[in-house]
């Protein structure tokens, strides 16, 4: 045991895939809800 981690690419890929899925999924969810929301005003 040398105290050095070898390999581990599967964890790296999992972290990046989860990041992409969560951020893209949330961004699409916001855009979709905004598209479907009733429009009542001209400014905020």
């Amino acid at each position: 045991m040398r105290g050095v981690i070898e390999g581990g690419w599967e964890f790296v890929i999992a972290a990046y895939v989860i990041t992409a899925v969560v951020l893209l999924g949330y961004a699409f969810s916001v855009c979709w809800r905004l598209w479907k929301a009733p429009r009542h005003d001209a400014g905020r």
Partner: protein
Amino acid sequence: MRTASRQRTAVAVALAGAAFLLAGSGWGLFKAPPEVFMGEVQRIMYVHVPTAWNAMLALSFAFGCALAFLFTGDWKWDSRLEAALEVGVVLSLLLCAQGAIWAKPTWGVWWDWDPRLTTTAVLLFAFAGILALRGFVDDPVKRAVWTAVAVVIAYVDVPLVYFSVRWWNSLHQLQSTPETVSRAFHWPLRINAFGVLFLMIGLVELRARLAWQRRAAESAPPLPSGVAVATGRL
């Protein structure tokens, strides 16, 4: 700035954030060297640390919006509060998932009740709880005031999360900043930090727009029944 123009700007800022994230992640995955002890696993830092910074930034903005609403009573702050709260919860959830994936190969466990992880779990459940409970209050005034007060109280945990690794004996490493990480890791970390920041700003603006429209729909005068059915309001 007009509404359509603000929305286009928000989308452009979010897209710029996504482009930064792609560039920074590409650099972190394929160009940056592996770390001496953690090897390839350390590459998770390039998404985990920017997510942590921006989760705390989003919740800090929610705290600022809560105070602004309580002092001014201006509804735009309630919309921004709801938006920042939701984005902060999403980033905190993502932060915990990334952290668990990093913890398994480095610590040997997915989760440990050490001070940093425990305070982060408290943060996630507190703010997610406020967001969930907000949906159950029908009166807009009570909903806005209760949310603002609850966010101000829950925000006490944010500095606890940040300083937990310094104040207590924690399994988690110290905060990753340009001073605590090697120069070889700076650029992908910085690019991704700005990527998540721009994405967060764009999403908060769009989500605030949605909150504003929903509140306007709540306070709009009731339509005649035939019109309401035809427009799908009933």
